[in-house]
């Protein structure tokens, strides 16, 4: 620490240059944090979903409905604790840009299966008593400024016409990656208004014994294998993970960009360190004459480089955390988007690596400098 003044003086020698380098690193790490958080959010989305709940949907394709009769047969199987179902409604609120998920559910069997969806009991009661009631996520309430008791109208796309719903309850999810922008209403309402022309979109079931998930999934599918409506059953987690893969190879894209960014900034930082070193060959020679050792001098160079990159890293990473944490657009696209501590830690590791890599050549040069050669050049 007694070299602190020396190191500081060297960094402040060209304030502008040091500042620019720090900012470049900050910019790179900001980007890194933003991108990696996309990956972590998607991974978290893939983790959402219980392993004790199973989803059973049509094996032909996800958009094909299943007969209601299937529910009774599934329920009759040993090991199945309860069965419910839901349908995707796909309505439009005012205009298509206001996208959010809407589900028609059988409330008395559905909500008990989702303890993480927390609804105040009196609101749930109000919902159950009213045919056109809806339970809406906290995020949606905030996004559109809705109030409990308000009536909202959705234009049906799959089920044509204007559909009015009255909001009777608001839910808050236990786990933010579950998402708080869903809209639930009664399957009964859908059934009646389509003249009974609708059947379940998919079944959700709870097992007596969650460890039986794989075996039960296979059994259920076997039951309906040769029927006109074969099923594909899997844990809810696997089912959600399937959706995440639909985004495409985002992980690869992010890693590729991340690598490019890392090398671009490495070049900037290394260039700076080398420029600084070039200016100081004379001084380094003089220090050696005084008695500073090779190792000490090269160590000082490394410390300088690491200080610059770590400072830049801190600014970039925490800047990203502050700026992107509560961003609305991001959290509606990717629920639970946040710069997590794992990203922060990884970011600092990268900043450290950047510092070490950029300081390597100048440090080595400083160690190897021949005093005689360097001092001869003095005018």
């Amino acid at each position: 620490m007694r070299y602190a003044r020396l190191i500081w003086a060297n960094l402040m020698r060209r304030k502008g240059r040091t500042l620019l380098t720090v900012l470049s690193v900050a910019v790179a790490l900001f980007l890194f944090a933003a991108l990696r958080s996309v990956v972590t959010a998607l991974a978290a989305a893939g983790e959402v979903g219980s392993e004790s709940r199973l989803v059973s949907r049509s094996a032909i394709g996800i958009t094909f409905p299943l007969p209601e009769a299937h529910a009774r047969r599934i329920d009759a199987l040993d090991g199945v604790a309860s069965v419910s179902w839901a349908n995707w409604f796909g309505g439009v609120y005012v205009n298509p840009q206001n996208f959010f998920a809407q589900f028609a559910v059988v409330a008395d069997t559905y909500f008990p299966m989702y303890p993480e969806v927390q609804i105040p009991p009196e609101q749930l009661e109000a919902f159950e008593g009213e045919r056109t009631a809806a339970i809406v996520g906290q995020g949606l309430m905030e996004r559109f400024g809705w109030r409990v008791g308000q009536t909202v109208t959705l234009q049906g796309t799959i089920f044509p016409g204007d559909w009015d719903f009255t909001i009777r309850g608001v839910y808050v999810p236990e786990d933010p990656s579950f998402g708080d922008e869903a809209f639930y209403f009664h399957y009964e309402y859908l059934y009646e208004r389509t003249n009974r022309n609708v059947t379940p979109g998919w079944f959700i079931l709870r097992l007596d014994n969650p460890s039986e998930a794989a075996a039960m999934s296979a059994r259920i599918d076997q039951v309906f294998e040769n029927s006109s409506a074969p099923t594909k059953t899997e844990t809810e987690k696997a089912f959600n993970a399937g959706f995440v893969t639909m985004w495409g190879n985002v992980g690869f894209l992010v890693r590729a960009i991340g690598t490019a960014v890392f090398f671009a900034i490495l070049l900037v930082a290394a260039n700076t360190m080398m420029m600084a070193a070039r200016e100081r060959t004379h001084e380094v020679a003089v220090m050696k004459t005084i008695g500073f050792g090779d190792r000490l001098l090269s160590g000082l160079v490394m410390i300088e480089a690491v200080l610059i990159t770590m400072l830049g890293g801190a600014i970039g990473i925490f800047g990203a955390r502050a700026a992107l944490g509560g961003n609305e657009m991001l959290s509606s696209l990717l629920p639970g988007y946040a710069v997590e501590w794992s990203t922060v830690a990884l970011g600092f590791a990268i900043a450290l690596a950047l510092g070490l890599a950029s300081g390597l050549v100048p440090a080595w040069q400083a160690a190897r400098l021949s005093v005689v050669d360097a001092l001869r050049k003095v005018a």
Binding site: M246, V261, L267, V268, T272
Partner: protein, 387 residues
Amino acid sequence: MKIPLIYNLRSLRQRPVSTLTTAVGMALVVAVFVAMMALSNGFRAALVGTGSPDNAFVLRKGANAEMNSGLGRDVANVVGGMPFVAQDPQGRPMISAETFVVISASRRNGELANVVVRGVSPMALEVRKGVEIVEGRMFTPGASEILVGAKLPSRFADMAVGDVFRFAGRDWNVVGRFVAEGSAFESEIWGENEQFMPLFRGQVFQSVTFRMTDPSGFEGIEETMEGDPRLFVDVFREDAFYRNQSSLLGNLLQFFAIFVSGVMAIGAVFGAINTMYAAVASRGPEIGVLLTLGFTPRNVLGSFLVEAVLIALLGGLLGGLATLPINGLVTSTTNWDSFSELAFAFRVTPGLLLQGLIFAAVMGVVGGFLPARRAAKQPVAEALRGA
């Protein structure tokens, strides 16, 4: 340019390391920019290329996607009889009533994906422009035969011409493979609409596409059809309809491309500023001489600015070249409007490469400006006193 260009070129050669590191830094920015824009452009091209402005596309009213639509046979018949439906040389109406479903199929890597299965009329190849069978033949009406889009066989098993592909509880012979100008159709399975209807959603079509006798009269056609009490439809120009699909994702990709490369550019510009400041600092005496000889400060500023731009252009060139190998690389994502997999290719166009160069030049100007100004504003005596 009073100060000769060769001065700048040779000066760059004198400091190869810092010139190259700055150039490579910019090259990386340009490469990322071009690659991401190529991704975005490829995605848009796949959607835009789908559909023709000469065709009208009919869905049930309020259904914003084919998947959600349902049109009865009667509707299809009524539309077929309308006067603005063009006829082919044999006098047949150029109309294709189609079914549209999305099925689950296993990708070659084992993951499940959603694939569009479109039931078309035998007239489809004539109505939908740009669709061409490149291997095999058209399906035979009445037979259990299907065509596959060109992007499918490499991604899914059992979809090569000659294979038997099973879905909806039946075996289908793959008798042909078609291309469609790189559009979304190339990710679809096509078969006969009459064959598919009983298997999937019953006696309903999802869409009706027809060639307009007079494409410029679209507005009139739209009004007539949407006002007709027998029909309950929305009418679109075919290309406009597909172009609007997944506009959210398309815009998102483009926004992402600009955001990421913009941020990277800031870093690269900082690097350029540093490099140029160092160059100016080390060339003090040279600058002093130039000013003494009678070159104006503006000449000097221009010269250093040009030098910065030269480095940047080198970077732009390298970056552009680096992205050439990805041109044509096929990747896929989900078309959220049809809920199905859309395979598309990266599209690196000459226009895009030019944009990359311009982007680089702008970075050069921005990065070189302050150092160049410092070079020009130096008092001569100080400059001469040197590095």
